[in-house]
Symmetry: C2
Subunit: 464 residues, 2 copies
Amino acid sequence: MAWKQMCRCDQLQKLCDLIFSEDLDQEEVNNLTTCLCHLLADDLTPGTSLLPQDISAESIQESLGRPLYVLFDNLITLPEDDHRRQPLLLLLVEMHKITLHVGYHFLYFLKASNIKTEKVQENNECSFLTYRDLCKAAGQKDFAGFIIKDLRLCSEDDPRVLSWIIPDIYNSFPKQTRGNAELLQLVLERLDSSQLHDLVCMVLQGSLQMFDNSSFATILEKSLQWETVEQLFLWQLAKAHEIPVDCCLSVMPKLKFTSHSATVTNTHGEALSNILMMLRRESPSEILLRTLLLREFRVEDPTVATILQYWVQRYEDKMAKLINDVVNNKPQPSPNKRKRNQSTKANAVPLDQVLSHLNHLRTACGQTTFFALETMQDTLQTAQNQCSETQKKKYGDLFALIEEEDEEEPAPEPQRKPKSNRGRKPKGRKKQESESEEESSEEEDVKKPSRKRKKNNQVGSDSD
Amino acid sequence: MAWKQMCRCDQLQKLCDLIFSEDLDQEEVNNLTTCLCHLLADDLTPGTSLLPQDISAESIQESLGRPLYVLFDNLITLPEDDHRRQPLLLLLVEMHKITLHVGYHFLYFLKASNIKTEKVQENNECSFLTYRDLCKAAGQKDFAGFIIKDLRLCSEDDPRVLSWIIPDIYNSFPKQTRGNAELLQLVLERLDSSQLHDLVCMVLQGSLQMFDNSSFATILEKSLQWETVEQLFLWQLAKAHEIPVDCCLSVMPKLKFTSHSATVTNTHGEALSNILMMLRRESPSEILLRTLLLREFRVEDPTVATILQYWVQRYEDKMAKLINDVVNNKPQPSPNKRKRNQSTKANAVPLDQVLSHLNHLRTACGQTTFFALETMQDTLQTAQNQCSETQKKKYGDLFALIEEEDEEEPAPEPQRKPKSNRGRKPKGRKKQESESEEESSEEEDVKKPSRKRKKNNQVGSDSD
């Protein structure tokens, strides 16, 4: 068998020599292509992985013994300006048209032939750029599309090879690959958690970059249609790339959620959980707060109330101050006055929306002590004054947290508004303060239920 | 149909009254149980979710109209010391034995009946503790097992209900549930990403705790056998619970990895990626470094080299100092001398292991400038002096980074060891410095390839 393989390789080398010595016309090339694709059909039919089971420099060298690879080897050995290069390229282009598998075989060959055993120490620095020549010779303008077509077939036939060559593809063709959502999905569709760990390690080492801050929002938005595992893998990669939360904010308004929803459509739990986890590490700022409050209020969506509660528990005074600023629509301090006015106008949060989220914080998280802070009392008072009668009624329970101005107080205190009143409770609502009350009101909020792993959650269905 | 349902409810109420008025012996209970299970079979056969499609206080109230729930309602309405409670409990115990579905129906009822519409404002604070009475009356000592059995069936029949009641289960029975790996897996097996987001929100709000720092290592170890999605979900929850990296370190030696491995077994990419991501946020310390270096060296595992490289890029001088301490086996500073000596002895890293990881850092990450730091030059010199001849040969390329003592220098410098020589390159190895060399050596390391999402990565298999 090995002998037969060697014979076939010899014949291919003879063919190459023939191509080099003759001027083939298009018809001859076409006939030769048809014959070759037929003769090499076995070689090009996906079977076991191209990549050896146990990978070593030696086993990789052995894997390069395929007859087809004689053509590749001749191609990369020729200098770029050698006139014999073009007919060989044209032959490969025609073969690639008939049998797309030639594409990822070539990519595999390019990487594998770079890995030298101690015995073989040739000097040819064959690089992935020859792959680009194949695309050019095929007259294709869309190189990114060319890459994706080959890699898609590779991902279907041989995901091990995909995972092995993908870092080289990203590093050799950054312009076509970085931030390309289609390529990324193709990769994440097929990779398993171990292959992902390899990519994560390379990203952390600084030797691989699959996207950057500016391209992440677009990728994130497209990822909302992906399977859960693919989305979770994307978030792993986002963390490895150290994408900051700012790069996710533009997608926030598009993220929908319904607790315990019975239908699978339009629920973006993966993205929301991960953004929450990022926000958690941030200290609250006006821009973050406005972005959150601008999210449409839905009682079935605990996201905004959750991060408000998280921040209130840790940055109580700062949160009170920021919410007060938002209600009073105070501009955020900025050195550029024109820019400031623009951004304030763009980010102004309708009062009704602020109140709905605050009310949700009250009901969903049983938060009452926060509203007793002096700044929050001011905020509620200001908001109440701006409200219509309908709104006053709608947020009656929230406004009931406004402390009555000493009406029931037996003896007036000398200082009605002490500088610090952290943790002060509103007087008329003592009942709310007990822990069990907080818990039960919290439970009531989470009463709106969902289901979807896009997999195994139908009633009565079996696990996958 | 609704009328028929009401009639059946009336009949069940009459039955309850009968049970209350008579002293049933065991045989009578058994016969009654058989009859009831038969009559209520339709009710107990899983069909559509118990939880209404659109969840509101009203729809939840409506969902409580099942005849079976008349029994539950009578049970929770009776005071704890009422003598009529026991026979009803025994009846339910027997029914539960015949038809396990009774268990999660009861749990659903307990939560649902706590949710009141405006119209229904009863005062009965029915709690999940009645569920515990059911376990006691059944004479079962293993309450955790009792819970898990019911919830497992619920997860199979009706995952929406599982996700809806699980926070109450954790909060009502913390002793039996918190840190229980079996229960957690049961939950994560069935939940989808939206249901997980609900749990994440509650954890972040501080109203749910599923495990704590001390129980996490055990859970993590068990999770290594779980599916990829379940493991990723666990890590989401770990982040929400703010589990520190220290709680994962004990598992580190058990985590195996092989890049681009052809076999699925014993590769723990999920855990390793997530721990890497946690370590990344830490600044290097002696304990962390020792834990990493104590990991068995395998050239096919980029994990240790990756975090070393990440830290070297950010904390160069500190890393040099720490590695020097490890090689010299200097104890870590600790106020308690006895304790210090103990821990040093336990954590002493064999020199060969330190060198193998350092050599991996050199080859896998193309790291050379770090080794040129004065402290690292000292470290390498110290290590070389301690090495056997075999080791000197084995790590020849690493020791070649030791700068020759001015042998080739044309004119001796006044100060042979400047105070600061950050970024100084070793003299004899200039070739290594070029970026392309670094990249190619990096590529060479990643040449050991894997496959496994426990799903769809077989060659030629179709996507799911």
